[in-house]
Symmetry: C2
């Protein structure tokens, strides 16, 4: 057999077209109802797979997606190429240099985020393999190792997208979460390579295991040192010579295929090599998303949907849905991740809400875990029931991480604003109708709290105001300044009944005047505070409550009950 | 068998990486020596195939590119998906609406460009099948039909690239050549579908043949009418709803796969359907190259090299190279195309050099013809020797079409410039060192030839000059104006020994001053003349010869012997 028979070829092409079309439609619908598109893509596979199409039109299903024969081989290779490209692009987003710079914090959370869920997953499935529907033929150690790894991995794209939606991607918290997740992915894929290697060795004998661990570590270490050095030189060389980005795209794909071939040939599966290739090549100017746009776009539009759609084709999701198993996997997954990462983040010095936001952020699984699950299913490491439970868990943790993080971080931001407000700096009835006069009044109240001279404070704010007035519209003005010698930001809120002209773009007089002074060298806190104040007061209900407040307790309550953010239905992409 | 064995998978991934890398390197080298990159990509396959690697390292070759088994099936499916996407993108470049608008001229050349080479190819191979190495089992009629079709097809991308390099893409000549080639492709792929259909019917019985022709025509007619209407509506609908181009990309690929599946299932091969899908979807705002950039880029960087590289893997190009057969195929191919298209273009009223440029432009084969040849080889319609001859012919005709067109069109352009110069308007010694004075002198000489009042002419040129001076650097100035009532452009060339300040960007005084007046409503001729004059005089040797000329005969000779264009090594992409 050298090629497909014409009829097989026709069915294969048709099945690709049908699968792509269905994933696109379902993915778009999922986004429209506020769910990640990967949910819809997976659902498309379920509709076309044994779950639905296999029941209502078994002949058509067998023609489109036969279980054996050349067409099945060709289809499985196409989905493998798809996931190889997907993991490569995922790896490309890893900025190794930045990750290493943040190693201390990232590693604390990252290690905990691996160790805790891994330990819980490993322990539970090693002790009670039957509860997880372990397949008898699989050595318990390998099965437990897989479960630990699958529960320990997290979904970088989901997390990154959530952080971007929250405008937190470039903040310290965002960098921490991303760094941890990347660290987590790297260890996760390394462990998964080990699982595949051990399983193929058909038994975790102490010698075989030592060899496998040595191979795994050697591959990763070589890739990140020598491989990285060579890759950076090659990229720079190609980029100097090429007239367009085609050379770099071609190089990335060649390295990805070669690396996947290498890890596959040493017995650790193609997926580990694909991800590693992405990590080795990523985070450079030559492989920036802008330069590799064609590859990233086509992966997002064609290859990722093909892969996620193909997941649903493998298994009957209704017949293999065991509620108890699904619940067990979900509970254990959340327990390990949220607790492990959250506590580690707490110990690293993050305040509680941020720490739990990190925990829930890291809790998102998704593509990575599903890719592991499907390979494990193909090899026969896990049962179809466990596969379904793992996929459901991946979807559920991804879907919940965004909203929960938003809630936690939204609360943190309101507290940040409130934390710097004070009974002494709340002035329910500002005197005067002139901008200078109002600012001097606020400065008078703020200076003792900030521990600075009132005249110095007022002059700094007025100097800033002279450059550009700080009215932001809707009756809000946020005069501000940075001051040397300040330990903490101080916020003062004054209400003006007649309103004061702060040169707002909409021409409205400012009735809510918030004075913000921040330490001289901390740019970020000022930007965050100004953004948070503007966002909070732009909510009409909050403005009404604030306008009615006559005491610090009332203003406190009004701000505390304000909604966290304006956007509540971001387009999460998993 | 449901998927590949791990070792097969590793070799498959490695073979893809190696093939991509080799095609990239060879393609880049080919471009560097002024050849189309497709030549290098094909050569890469020859190096990795039975011709070289199969000889020097047969074991490695057998591992990388086995002839049978699951890995071979998977590889052949990947190359098929590649050519399907390549042909779809090629079809997308077809602008049906514009093609129909130019149907009269396009169809004359297009029909001749199909009929003449088809007739010669069909006749020769039907009469002397043995000379073409016909395989005995193939019905002579089918074999001749294939040869006619393969010789009748031309290479749109090569032609388009050549025209773009010549800045002729948007001219009437360019539109004529492109229109003819597109028309030619559409008929060619339709005929090829018929060949495949007839061959699969295993005998051109009159009933079978009638059915096949009816099916072929029905598919094309339906696609271009109902299919086109539905596709345009669907594209507009998707584009209105989608937030990015992903929806359209996804739709294009789905339609391409479905269409390829359809033509494959009716027995006419996937390639016809892929091209037809491109044509049906092409030429709209939604499928403009800018919008489908990601798809087109990845096809150019990944899929096209994979396909062209795979050609060389199929056959030993040394053992199967029969010089006489190669020469015969090449001669017959050129005879039919150049003569057929050239004569048809002459009869359509084009002047000789343009007509022969059309002929040589249409003579370029390339991707299309190679795709046909490889499918014919797979089906056993042609021998390996004939396959090699057809591939060599495709490369040779592609490689020669650019230079020959340039020569022919370059001559035309020089004649254009010279045609408007006159013994009366050549002034070897301009008087004066002031711009106005020099212009008035040239206008005085030009006005009688143009049949206008010298003062009117001078005023128009000076008015234009006042807006922005016309010195272009290197001692050249091209004052110009458009005049009402002018029937023909008139060009005057004056040489100034001291030089005149025409405000050139390099600060040089103008010693070559060319006055150009053109009819008021013909924008194109003015732009073409100005560009041609600047290009011609920017050649240092030409400038020396012109500067030394003392008579119209001498200046004529100097301009006639000037090289056609500055760029002689464009980056042709086949």
């Amino acid at each position: 057999m050298t090629s497909l028979a014409p009829s097989e070829l026709a069915w294969l092409l048709l099945s690709l077209g049908v699968l792509l079309a269905t994933t696109r439609v379902c993915g778009t619908l999922a986004k429209r109802v506020g769910q990640p598109s990967v949910l819809g893509e997976l659902l498309a596979g379920v509709l076309l797979g044994p779950t639905l199409l296999g029941r209502v039109a078994p002949a058509l299903y067998a023609d489109l997606f036969p279980a054996t024969g050349g067409q099945a081989v060709a289809f499985s290779v196409l989905t493998l190429v798809s996931i190889v490209l997907f993991l490569t692009v995922a790896g490309l987003e890893v900025d190794l240099a930045r990750l290493l710079a943040r190693l201390r914090v990232a590693s604390a959370v990252g290690v905990a985020g691996i160790v805790a869920p891994f330990a819980i997953g490993f322990g539970a499935s090693y002790l009670w393999p039957a509860a997880f529907g372990s397949v008898g033929a699989v050595p318990p150690f390998v099965f437990a190792l897989f479960m630990g790894t699958a529960l320990a991995i997290s979904a970088l794209p989901v997390i990154a997208k959530t952080l971007i939606d929250l405008d937190l991607y470039r903040t310290d918290l965002g960098a921490l979460v991303i760094g941890s997740a990347v660290f987590n992915d790297l260890i996760g894929w390394t462990l998964f390579g080990l699982v595949v290697g051990l399983f193929r060795e058909a038994g975790p004998g102490p010698v075989g295991m030592g060899t496998e661990i040595a191979i795994t570590l050697a591959v990763v270490a070589l890739a990140l040192t020598l491989g990285r050095t060579l890759a950076l030189r090659a990229l720079a060389w190609i980029d100097r010579r090429a007239s367009d980005a085609g050379g770099v795209v071609s190089f990335v794909i060649c390295v990805a295929f070669a690396s996947a071939a290498l890890t596959e040939s040493v017995g650790h599966g193609a997926l580990m090599g694909a991800f590693l290739a992405g990590v080795v090549l990523g985070g450079t100017i030559e492989t920036s998303p802008r330069r590799l746009l064609a590859l990233e776009r086509l992966v997002a539009v064609v290859f990722a949907p093909l892969f996620f759609g193909s997941l649903g084709l493998r298994v009957d999701f209704v017949a293999n849905f065991e509620p108890l198993l699904v619940l067990l996997v979900f509970a254990i997954a959340c327990l390990g991740k949220v607790l492990g990462c959250g506590l580690a983040a707490r110990w690293s010095g993050l305040p509680p809400s941020e720490a739990w936001a990190v925990g829930f952020g890291m809790n998102a699984r998704g593509a990575m875990e599903m890719a592991m699950a499907v390979v494990a299913l193909q090899y026969g490491i896990i049962s179809e029931q466990l596969f379904v439970a793992l996929v459901v868990m991946a979807l559920a943790t991804s879907a919940m991480s965004g909203p929960v993080m938003k809630r936690l971080v939204g609360r943190r931001m309101r507290r940040l604003f409130l934390a710097h407000l004070d009974a002494r700096t709340f002035l329910p009835s500002l005197l005067g109708a002139e901008r200078d006069q109002v600012i001097r009044g606020l400065a008078q109240a703020t200076a003792p709290v900030a521990g600075v001279d009132p005249a110095v404070l007022a002059d700094a704010v007025l100097a800033r105001e002279a450059i550009m007035p700080t009215g932001v519209g809707q009756g809000i003005a946020i005069p501000h300044a940075r001051l040397p010698g300040l330990a903490q930001p101080v916020v003062a809120l004054g209400l003006s009944n007649p309103g004061v002209d702060f040169g707002a773009p909409d021409g409205e007089l400012a009735r809510f005047i918030v004075l913000v002074v921040t330490p001289e060298h901390d740019d970020l806190i000022q930007i965050e505070l100004l953004a948070e104040i503007a966002r909070t007061l732009q909510n009409p209900a909050t403005r009404s409550a604030v306008a009615a407040a006559r005491s610090f307790e009332e203003i406190s309550g009004a701000l505390r009950s304000a909604p966290a953010r304006g956007r509540e239905h971001p387009d999460d992409d998993g």
